[in-house]
Symmetry: D2
Subunit: 243 residues, 4 copies
């Protein structure tokens, strides 16, 4: 086990979690400028919590080194993914997981929302974060709304019922693929999401609360333990879960 970006916030939380975990051994902590190629034959798995500017280069280097890669760094676009997939096809023994979110509760909530969406007349998403957050809605909420919209489209459901005739600007939230998303910014919170799905007489609510960065660690450790058994490039921790 090696950690790339070991001095960062996620990296240092990860090194602590790996040290405390049964059956995992931390053999290297890499920072800015360290040589990924040096991991060849030293580490079986590497976790990348670096920055968008270097993460793709790191994954190519890990593929060259024959080291399985678990990547939590954000900023991947389709072009970068395509280059990694092409490279990985030449190393069919190596596993790569690129996951924007390691919080199991968030990953499961998104999956459950998209599974359930086809069975409900209405669905809306409320996300709550600390007020230092720069963007609204959160990426997780947008991703959740996309999943709901895709499921509704596949099931042949039309637009949701909504008779709103007069509204203050913004009251009905942001429209993401026809799903209304609402963003709250509250001092002291971390990352929280509520998904509401309803039919006449019933309401299904799926809620996730992340209080602390350690909430990502069960997902990170699960990925580290599985990546060697899943060759090829996978995107999203949900691809590793038995759902």
């Amino acid at each position: 086990m090696a950690v790339l970006g070991a001095a960062g916030r996620m990296g240092s939380t990860t090194t602590a979690a790996v040290r405390a975990a049964d059956g995992l051994e931390l053999v290297a902590e890499l920072g800015e400028g360290d040589d990924v190629a040096a991991l060849t034959g030293v580490a079986d798995v590497a976790i990348d919590f670096t920055v968008p500017e270097v993460t793709e280069a790191n994954v190519h280097a890990l593929l060259d080194a024959g080291v399985h890669a678990v990547v939590g760094t954000t900023g991947w676009d389709a072009a970068a993914l395509g280059r990694v997939r092409a490279h990985a096809s030449t190393r069919p023994d190596v596993g790569v997981l690129i996951a924007p979110n390691f919080a199991l509760s968030a990953v499961l909530a998104m999956r459950f929302a998209s599974v359930a969406a086809r069975y409900f007349a209405s669905a809306e998403v409320v996300e709550m974060h600390h007020p230092r957050k720069l963007d609204a809605p959160s990426g997780t909420a947008v991703h959740t709304a996309h999943g709901i919209a895709a499921a509704r489209a596949e099931a042949g459901l039309g637009a949701m019922p909504d008779a709103t005739a007069t509204s203050l600007p913004g009251a009905r939230g942001a429209d993401v693929d026809g799903v209304n998303v609402h963003s709250l910014r509250l001092a002291g919170l971390v990352a929280h999401e509520q998904i509401f799905l309803s039919n006449p007489g019933e309401l299904l609510t799926i809620r996730t609360d992340s209080f602390d960065r350690v909430s990502f660690m069960p997902g990170v450790l699960l990925a580290v333990r599985e990546v060697a058994a899943r060759p090829g490039v996978h995107v999203g921790l949900d691809t590793y879960l038995d759902l």
Copy 2:
């Protein structure tokens, strides 16, 4: 006890509730065109669940008849209220309660929100209603936000923290006096509100769920039983509660 607008949705629910209540006797059910003056000496208390067009005239007639009035009809503005107050000052023995909302949980939630607001860094309001509702946000949510804003101003609190730099239109809700309000429309729901108040490390949530019109009846009966003991014009059921 008399019910004005007895054939309407709220009126008929009220007549049923009065009949089932201990110590209350229903002596008259009035509909469109019936003469309110006929209640003189017949009823001690009258409940008005009519329509905005006639409710003020009803209250004047009840004052003339010396009948205490509990009014649930909406649409009162400052001018109408002023005229009723002037009239009532000539009948100091008669009580009038004008209440836009008889749901005890909603009335208490608004009061609690305004009491608590001065102690928290952040506050936002989420309301959820059936999708046949025409306006957004709901009147209750707007009223709740006004109460929060007034309490914050009185306590000398400034704007809430919010670093949002990029946002989809509507994501951050409607701005009501500096309090963000979010409106969800979900098939099968009735009337629901969540008020979030937070500080570093803590979140206080006050939630009300109204599933059915009968939820207004405890508040209506409380008002009917109290109105004779509270002469003068009172606005809002909270003025009757021991808070």
Copy 3:
């Protein structure tokens, strides 16, 4: 489409829902003493919302008549199920669904809880019902707890962490297969359940609220539309869902 037990609470709600549904035609409403055999060649599907004493006989008669059966009546035990399975094996063209719960939100919540349980350190169940309910915990909550316990066992998880040393009797709820279940009885509620699943730093909550008997109708209609395409005996609406 025929409804057996059409005069009962669920039966009458069902006949109304079938009449309002696109593409379904109600051809018969049967009550006590009516002859199920008369449905031969008349109805393609029948819904049974009768009573435990007659439901098994009804299903055998429907199998004889070649009518697909959707059964919402409770009280089925293993012996009765075995007899129906044996009979159904002689009519491989007929579908039978026996479902104790048609509320989609409750059925999905149970499934999601058992899918998620293997990924969380702790899980507990809180159910809330009207105070006229005779048993505690509810059958749905017990079923949910069984699903969580089975998933934890399959994943090799041991007992949940709990250092409780001193406790008032009952504070920690009922132990159902090692999962703590808590029952609240609150005036005015209908049927509600909250499932809590947690790890360090995160909490996943799945909540269902049923406000009204009509909440069962989307599930009933889904079953009616699917039963002909699913020959054999199936137990639980979840067997019909794409999960």
Copy 4:
């Protein structure tokens, strides 16, 4: 400002909060064996986050020194309180606040629950804590239940409706003065409480979530700023709030 027990968990969180607060100056941090009398003329206010064994002696010494005292240490019984009240009556210029809980959301929730309880047919309490907690229910939940029970008794409400006839042991929770209290223990949680109050057709829920020890600091700072203006002995942070 002085902090007694400055090296402890709460003490060190408090010294950090005082240092970061506008208008407060930290002049002394005392630990085990340090002499409280030395604060005479040095500090105007002292906060005691020590241990039950020494807190009463500290308060007597602070009264002798003419230093206002804010006490967060638990373990006070009626006898100790009586001795401090007697002593304080000889120092009418000095304020003493003894508060078992400085979390504003928890203090407000308890107050709101007891204010609301008289207006609802049913009330139950659910508390959720980390699984290292030794006792169940939590002191806060027991205190909440006492407040609800007292309010119901004062309003002349009888026992809550509950038709439970068959129950698994513990399902209905612990009976605290006739109020059912349910304790959940979930890995990763800190301190959380939900209070449910219901009537036909409506549910009022008051929920508090404490994610972190810093949640006590707004209440501690409020007390420190107010104590000099409130001579005499006060018990409970709610006595300082405008409720």
